[in-house]
């Protein structure tokens, strides 16, 4: 290696160091000129949105985005790109609070979005910004079992059978996990059982959970691809997708009663105000409520609000009696505190399991 080539390498390295700094400065200038661009919005030819969502909606948003982008571009002539980010609902809320620049947040559970209000990123009253409490579709928790349902699982009570291995993600980190626990709880207390019975039932279930994945998708992979467990407690859309992908190896089971899943959406005000993307973010979320948007939602196995669309896809969505989180506790905050906070019910259940295991 000659001295010349070494010097060349040094120059390259130097550029590599300087480049990100230069990029930063450039970005900073780009941002400083942003307000100007907002004023003369007709001149803007390109807009980018970031939709931060939870795990089982990847396919849904891919489809929605593709349709909405074409529609928006043909109507306004503005080139739109929508980026997606998916992970467990709770960690996504935290990421937004930590500065992930989401224009819209479409999370799994109400507390996750409301947390952004507490952090002053979303204005109070966000629930009233869109119809139906800013919930554009709903879903529920159902069971996925192996072919032929060898363990004979038909309703919640069957989950308490010994030797039934159950897959569900961790309620600590996953919205699906929380709903599954609340579903099991509700199945007891809403049929006249006492809280003591419910607690005992839920403990029996978690004793038979061999893997607590951190996210809904992780649990699906564990059950369907790794072949672990007898029954998977999944959100309907996830369950239907899972069964479709399994080539007949898995079956769906609908319990008679289950918990209603209401995933809310919101515009992240603090971000759109800075980026000047309020309007496009608004029409993006509005699109979900149009008949066209509702059809895309139904096609991805989420239950649409639109009665007409729902009847059209009725064969996909068998009737299940749905109860809400409010049927279990006064409101989400209270439920969150009672069940999932540090040292609350879920933790104490595991403590109990652990103690009785080590006593053996």
């Amino acid at each position: 290696m000659s001295r010349r080539s070494l010097q060349n390498i040094a120059i390259v390295l130097l550029i590599a160091v300087v480049w990100p700094v230069a990029r930063q400065i450039q970005q900073r200038f780009a941002n400083e000129s942003a307000p100007e661009a907002v004023e003369s919005r007709t001149v803007v030819r390109e807009v980018a949105l970031l939709n931060v969502s939870y795990d089982p909606t990847r396919e849904l948003w891919q489809a929605v985005n593709a349709k909405f982008v074409t529609k928006y571009e043909s109507e306004t002539g503005v080139k739109l790109t929508i980026k997606q980010s998916h992970a467990a609902s709770g960690s996504q809320a935290r990421a937004i609070a930590d500065g992930l620049e989401a224009d819209v947040a479409t999370l799994s559970l109400w507390p996750d979005l409301d947390l952004l209000r507490k952090k002053a990123l979303i204005k109070a009253g966000w629930e009233d910004e869109f119809p139906n409490g800013s919930v554009p579709y709903f879903s529920t928790v159902v069971f996925v079992v192996r072919k032929g349902n060898p363990k004979g699982i038909h309703d919640w009570a069957d989950l308490g059978k010994p030797d039934t291995s159950i897959i569900t993600p961790s309620p600590k980190t996953s919205g699906n996990g929380r709903l599954a626990l609340l579903g099991a709880w509700g199945s007891v207390v809403l049929q006249g059982g006492s809280e003591e019975n419910a607690r005992e039932f839920v403990t029996r279930i978690y004793r038979n959970v061999p893997v607590l994945d951190t996210g809904a998708r992780g649990a699906t992979v564990t059950f369907s691809q790794k072949g672990i467990g007898d029954v998977h407690l999944a959100v309907e859309s996830e369950a239907r997708l899972e069964v479709r992908e399994s080539n007949g190896e898995l079956e769906l089971v609908y319990p008679t009663k289950s918990i209603r899943h209401d995933p809310p959406v919101a515009i992240v005000d603090a971000v759109v105000e800075r980026r000047g993307t309020q309007d496009v973010a608004k029409s993006y979320l509005d699109y979900l409520y149009t008949p066209e948007g509702q059809v895309v939602i139904a096609e991805h196995d989420f239950r649409p609000l639109d009665a007409e669309v729902l009847t059209k896809f009725a064969d996909r969505f068998p009737k299940v009696e749905l109860f809400t989180v409010e049927d279990i506790g006064p409101n989400w905050d209270a439920v969150q505190k009672k069940f999932f906070a540090e040292g609350a019910l879920f933790d104490s259940i595991y403590q109990e399991i652990h103690r009785s295991d080590s006593a053996k």
């Binding site: 070494l6 590599a16 990100p20 970031l50 980026k83 997606q84 609070a97 930590d98 500065g99 992979v221």
Partner: protein, 297 residues
């Protein structure tokens, strides 16, 4: 702290009768060694390629290049890793120069500090950067007001990667520079060369192989970093997903072949790294031997 292969050639004494083990012991131990390597290393690697190529080479190729998000993740990893490595080259050379050429109070402490990123759990590393640069962190609001993005963007990925791989190059250079000694440099300076001349004409040619070795190891780790990047990435498809994150994401999207296709690229890169390492060790052992001969005469 890194696996360092010895360059000392085995002597002829290997065949001395008193050092010979009975045949059955030899066969047993060699068999065991093959079993260990087979189960722990060969089978997993074979499994990666098997899963990736299960649908045939055409599908494999399509998985890699037809998905724009996957393409972007490859591009991102290939831009994040070199920048992080470049930052660490400058730092590593400066730190090694400082530690091997000067004596000053706190030198031992500095050496220990250099190793710290090795021992810190990547999640903790990610958390540290989040506390510093995140919106809820100490500098977050200021950064946002000035339009500077660090976490959930390219600079954050580079920073945590640089952090996790910080010790590699310095760690590799310190023993090399210690072994070479500073005689040549002192001679150059006393003959009137200035600092940079000495550095470019004496030091760099002396340490170039050690440096390259460090760069290769550093790069391998930088490309494969998962835990810390996981915390600060924000998981935006086609924007902040690096290859290891893409592996996870594809796996969760029921795209097993796609996931293993990306994993196989990472594995192939690891194997290339191994070859480069072997080649370099070969090269350095020759040069070291030569240097030793020169030193003797």
């Amino acid at each position: 702290m890194m696996p360092q292969k010895s360059t000392v050639a085995s002597s002829t004494a290997r065949h001395a009768a008193s050092r010979e083990d009975p045949v059955w012991v030899r066969v047993l131990l060699i068999g065991l060694a093959f079993l260990v390597i087979g189960v722990l290393i060969v089978i997993p690697v074979a499994n990666v390629f098997y899963q990736a190529f299960r649908g045939g080479a055409g599908v494999y190729w399509k998985n890699l290049v037809s998905d724009p998000d996957t393409r972007h993740s490859i591009f991102l990893t290939l831009t994040v890793a070199p920048v992080a490595v470049a930052l660490n080259v400058v730092f590593g050379v400066a730190a090694a120069w400082l530690i091997t050429r000067f004596k000053f109070p706190g030198r031992t402490f500095l050496t220990t500090l250099l190793d710290l990123p090795f021992a810190i759990s990547p999640v903790v590393a990610g958390l540290m950067f989040m506390l510093m640069f995140g919106l809820q962190g100490y500098m977050g609001p200021w950064l946002r007001d000035h339009g500077i993005k660090i976490v959930f963007a390219y600079p954050g990925l580079v920073l945590v990667t640089a952090f996790v791989t910080m010790p590699f190059i310095a760690r590799e250079l310190i023993p090399v520079m210690d072994a070479i000694g500073s005689d040549e440099e002192i001679a150059a300076v006393s003959l009137g060369a200035n600092g940079w001349q000495t550095f470019w004409r004496i030091t760099i040619p002396n340490i170039k192989w050690g440096l390259l070795y460090g760069v290769i190891l550093c790069n391998a780790r930088a490309m494969g970093e998962f835990g810390a990047v996981h915390v600060v990435s924000g998981h935006i498809s086609g924007q902040t997903d690096t290859m290891p994150l893409r592996v996870e994401k594809l796996f969760q999207e029921y795209n097993n072949p796609g996931s293993f296709a990306v994993a196989s690229v990472l594995t192939a890169l690891a194997i290339v790294t191994l070859f480069l390492k072997i080649w370099l060790e070969h090269k350095t052992s020759h040069e070291l031997a030569e240097a030793r001969d020169v030193g003797v005469t």
